[in-house]
Assembly symmetry: C2
Homo-oligomer: 707 residues x 2
């Protein structure tokens, strides 16, 4: 790829970004889009709608940038919780890392690379220069200048490790501080007991009651046994639907709308009064639900939420193996009540264990299958191959602009489209694993998606060739550094355009909220409904974090290979920093609070990136005929892993559970709190399945999933 192709790509994307930003600053001021761009504000001040019209509304303005910039961390914490703060820390961390890397890379490494003449490219004008002349491949073999790259690798690793330590320390102390500052919350006092052994002569609630009163007599408060309620939940959704239709019908005054047919699609069957028909239908469903609710007694699942009188009491029951058989009375921390995923409670210990194995296999299969679109994309970057496949295209492909668009832009766009389908699949797989909370599912999906991205975007693109060849490389560990050292620098230009197209565009379309905008538009127009029942979205951590972290991996691995990538990355992170702060301010509302437990994922993947960079460095210095440097790099991955081991020992336990000292201090503070008896009263019913709550559609609205 030549420099001008890169510039074309950059130009297109800059244009797109600019377009999105302009459109955003106009549209966000239109009242009809307020649910798309400021749903949080709408939810908070529901009545206040700005409907006055003035010219200013049609002019783009950068005011939101300043607002997002001025947002302090404390404000963010108060508004969106620790998870959002941790999410923004990823940007801060990445900006620090790549500012340092950028200074070294751009002012030291890039000139060295450019002045080498290993690639013996004929001295053409700058725009037609291959991007490879900016990479380490251009430095002469055996040149002593490579020692500068060597030092850069060591220096960079030390700096990143220092930052990782500081950040882990900062976030773990924030986590503890947030815990201290938190109000009493049901999930702090509750654990989830699963695989409750069923004996023939006592029911599940009885044995839960007996077990905990016997073994935790001083702290046990109450329990809620989980029921098999998926059928009931289906009926509730139905009832909701009919109820909404009824309300809509009552609201419309058109007389023709009140009559319809009761058959298929409302087209066949008898003509009826729709109002009566809907009311009858709703009554029937309500009756059904009540009947179902009363007969649920036998449909108990061997799982129960057990609440305690103190946080420490819950922690004690959580951390000590309860039953003699470790596969019975399995305890885990309870999620927040509104975070509970009420399906999947029925699975026994063995079933869950088997599901887990099945999911691992499924992830593997998905990863392998995904190689197919990746190789198609790879075909696009090789124009010659494309012409061999589709000879009739050769005419079009000979146009410079078209070929530049195809090589520079199309591949990562197609990849991007395919990648859209992966997150829902990963979420579905994670939910199969038997997690009981949406937050856990999201965290698990985040890890899955991260590895999927690293494998399918990085390794698949780098190693290309046949799928079989890739697997073979990893069966010969000795060859890995050499193979990577050959393949990784060769793909530098692809990843630079990837940062530009995928990174920049995805960030600006995140701001513009292209997808919700398009989806919401026809819905709003067609239904003619009010915006009353819209839902404030939650930030999809499982999609965003892998993306951001993956760009970090690209930056770390290409830092010394092809420093040209670094300015583009810095632009990406700057954009992301502003855009996501804005979105957290206006759009996303936290749906759950994991207390910053996403950070260890970021930490581990950064360590992985560093070690990957070291392995490539070992290979590169070997290829570049500097075997001494190659051997001297070897201690670096070892030291990095040792450092990681220390960090995990030092900080990870804090993210797994709160220490006794904190729990006891919080409990003691609560003793003097006069609102505690009221809290405990609420706690007793906090974990009741919403599907089992009494319903009454005749009276008022019901929102079963709200906290």
């Amino acid at each position: 790829m030549i420099l001008s192709a890169l510039l074309t790509s950059v130009g297109i994307n800059l244009g797109l970004c600019f377009l999105f930003f302009t459109l955003y600053s106009i549209l966000r001021k239109q009242p009809s889009f307020v649910t798309v761009y400021e749903p949080r504000r709408v939810a908070e001040e529901k009545s206040q709608q700005r409907s006055y019209f003035n010219l200013e509304r049609l002019l783009p303005s950068p005011g939101w940038v300043g607002k997002a910039w001025r947002l302090s961390e404390e404000e963010l914490l108060a508004m969106s919780g620790l998870d959002a703060v941790v999410f923004m820390r990823i940007f801060v961390f990445s900006l620090r890392v790549f500012t340092f890397a950028g200074i070294i890379g751009f002012f030291i490494l890039l000139p060295i690379n450019f002045t080498g003449d290993q690639l013996s490219i004929e001295f053409s004008d700058l725009p037609n220069k291959s991007l490879d002349s900016f990479s380490i491949s251009n430095v002469n073999d055996g040149s002593n200048r490579l020692w500068i790259h060597f030092c850069a690798v060591y220096l960079f690793t030390a700096f990143v490790s220092y930052l990782l330590y500081v950040e882990y320390n900062y976030i773990s102390s924030k986590r503890i501080a947030c815990f201290y500052a938190s109000k009493p919350q049901p999930h702090q006092f509750t654990i989830l007991a699963r695989s409750i052994p069923v004996s023939s002569n006592s029911s599940i609630p009885e044995s839960v009651e007996r077990f905990f009163t016997e073994n935790h007599s001083s702290t046990y408060l109450s329990h809620n046994v989980v029921h098999r309620s998926s059928k009931l939940q289906g009926q509730l959704t139905d009832a909701d639907k009919w109820h909404r239709r009824l309300l809509h019908l009552k609201a419309t005054n058109h007389p023709r709308g009140k009559f319809g047919r009761d058959g298929l699609f409302g087209l066949f069957g008898r003509k009826v009064n729709l109002l009566d028909h809907y009311e009858k239908k709703l009554r029937d469903i309500e009756d059904n639900i009540r009947m179902e609710q009363s007969s649920l007694a036998g449909k108990e699942v061997p799982a129960a939420f057990v609440s305690f009188k103190s946080r420490y009491g819950a922690a004690v029951a959580l951390h000590i193996q309860q039953g003699v058989n470790p596969t019975e009375w399995v305890t885990e921390p309870a999620p927040e009540p509104h975070d509970v995923h009420w399906h999947h409670f029925s699975a026994s210990f063995i079933k869950r264990w088997i599901y887990k194995i099945v999911v691992v296999v499924a992830c593997f299969v998905l990863t392998v299958l995904f190689l197919i679109p990746v190789f198609i994309v790879q075909g696009l970057t090789n124009l010659d191959q494309l012409e061999t496949w589709f000879p009739f295209l050769s005419g079009i492909l000979s146009i410079t602009f078209v070929s530049q668009v195809i090589t520079g832009y199309l591949p990562s766009l197609i990849l991007q489209l395919f990648l859209r389908f992966v997150p829902p699949i990963m979420v579905w797989l994670s939910s199969m694993q038997g997690y009981t909370a949406f937050s856990q599912i999201e965290k698990s999906a985040c890890v899955k998606l991260l590895w999927f991205t690293i494998w399918n975007i990085f390794f698949a693109n780098v190693l290309s060739g046949s799928a079989l060849y890739q697997v073979n490389v990893f069966l010969e560990p000795k060859q890995i550094p050499r193979v990577l050292a050959v393949a990784v620098p060769a793909q530098a230009s692809f990843f630079i355009t990837y940062v530009v197209t995928s990174g920049w565009t995805s960030t600006s379309s995140e701001l513009f909220r292209l997808f919700p905008l398009i989806c919401g538009f026809p819905k709003r127009k067609l239904s003619g409904k009010d915006d009353d029942d819209f839902e404030v979205p939650a930030i999809p951590f499982h999609k965003e974090i892998p993306k951001i972290v993956f760009f970090g991996l690209l930056g770390v691995t290409y830092f010394f290979l092809s420093p040209l990538i670094l300015p583009f990355l810095l632009v990406y992170y700057c954009l992301g920093y502003i855009v996501y702060r804005n979105q957290l301010l206006d759009v996303y509302e936290p749906k759950f609070d994991t207390g910053g437990t996403f950070w260890p994922i970021v930490h581990s993947s950064t360590i992985f990136s560093l070690v990957l960079m070291h392995i490539i460095a070992i290979g590169i210095f070997g290829l570049k005929k500097l075997p001494l440097a190659s051997s001297l790099i070897v201690p670096l991955p070892v030291l990095t892993l040792v450092f990681n081991d220390y960090c995990q020992k030092r900080f990870l336990p804090i993210f797994k559970a709160y220490p006794a000292e904190c729990l006891i201090k919080k409990d003691r503070d609560d003793q003097n709190d006069p609102s505690m008896p009221e809290f405990f009263d609420k706690l007793v019913t906090a974990y009741r399945d919403p599907a089992l709550m009494p319903i009454n559609y005749s009276g008022s609205d019901r929102t079963p999933f709200s906290p």
Copy 2:
């Protein structure tokens, strides 16, 4: 190796075994050897010495076999604790496995192997037949008979897995039963807190007291801070020595013995009255010790034994991370008071973590260095190479008997001698890791020694060649099955003789207690001392378990390759079963009780053996031109590992800690026990460093390390 060489080796070893057994049955009846052969009995009934003489004493008798045979598991448990029972279960388990394997191997596989003609050995008489004609190598390539081997592998794996499950289940239920049956013991109520944070304004005892009274107010009982007492311990040993000399001097009535010189070796210096001299010396040391003891206040180590009022209270403090910083207030279960290793308490969290890494590296280096003697031994099995190295030996080596002894017996004897040095090194390395109990050190050394044995006896012998080549094999995982399939069957004869020489002889010399006998003899004769201060030995689990388990590995891997090994193994296990029962009855006394936690090591290594066998099977069937069978074996290791994962989830937690249910039940039982207040009084001082106890040599004997 030919059959007659094997028979020579078997003959020699059978002779040795017979000799040892005969000598044993005579010597054990001699009163002067009673401390060697029945120290347990001597310790129990100290006064009763059988000094009468009759002819029966000089005749060998097999009575002890019957006695050992009749010993029931309950008796063994009562006498030697659960660890001894688990130790004997290894033999029972192995006997079951190899009886099953023996029936299949000897009656089905061996005839099939023998009737093949792949190796096209000229039909000579049976004694000169190569042992290879009994192995799978002799089956014709691509023969359908190999499917019988295939079925045998599946059947054997299923049977072993079933037995593993049954055994794990049995031992874990025994462990719980033993816990229920146990009397209150100090270590059940105590934890060890390490890395206690030191603040400038309070001493360690103060901060321990404050921390636990604050956070565990209802259950905290007392604490004992550990002191840096290694200097003191040295002085105590000195005092002991001088005290003993003094006693000896007082006992001898010879007037000349009472005078000596006070200089070097008692040869130079002034002539003094030894009695006065010794007493003065002892007094000096005693004064020193008292001074040291009183000045120990400042030499506190940031570690303390913290005792609780209930087992459950101790478990709660143990399982929940105490401090906000997980590297402070690190808790671990306390060992039994007499099991405490009073050194190594001083190391901080980071120090211990670094030591651990250093020890891993040291183990690796030791393993590599040990390859040198292994290759020398390998040279001996290749006579041709030996003749090239030492041409002058060719005359002797041409004698059939000599060459048979050298190939059949000498290699494993030399290996055996070298292996003698490894256990102490492993114990030393383990003690460096910062374990605080002898039992933990022994368990860690056991694991280290097991992997060392598997690597240095099995892999080093199998792969032979240069050390570099071996490491290379493991860097190309794809090649492993093929390389092992070529190399492992080729070493069958070596390992058969290894079982005979090392296994049989070590068992019979264990019975004969050759080493203690030789060492004890001159000591007893020279010192002329009474047997009063002899010590009853403890069974060295860390040496014995790896040995026994390694023979299991040989049996499992060679079961379908060369079934000829199985009868020799069965003889070994039968011998071991009787001999070790006898030794547990008469010789060894338990020094600590780990509650059967050695079993998980045996379980894991059996799983490893199975998977190793499967990998070899994949290679063998590939080599034998039966690719379908080779592919169909692949699911087997996966299934085995999944099975292992389940077992570890199902049983391992029970071996890590006792579940809450058991602890609470035991605590409740104790509430009605009238002896508990007395027990708690003892508990307060149970973990006081014996070096800090007041001493008084003028009065009576002191034995600082006795429980």
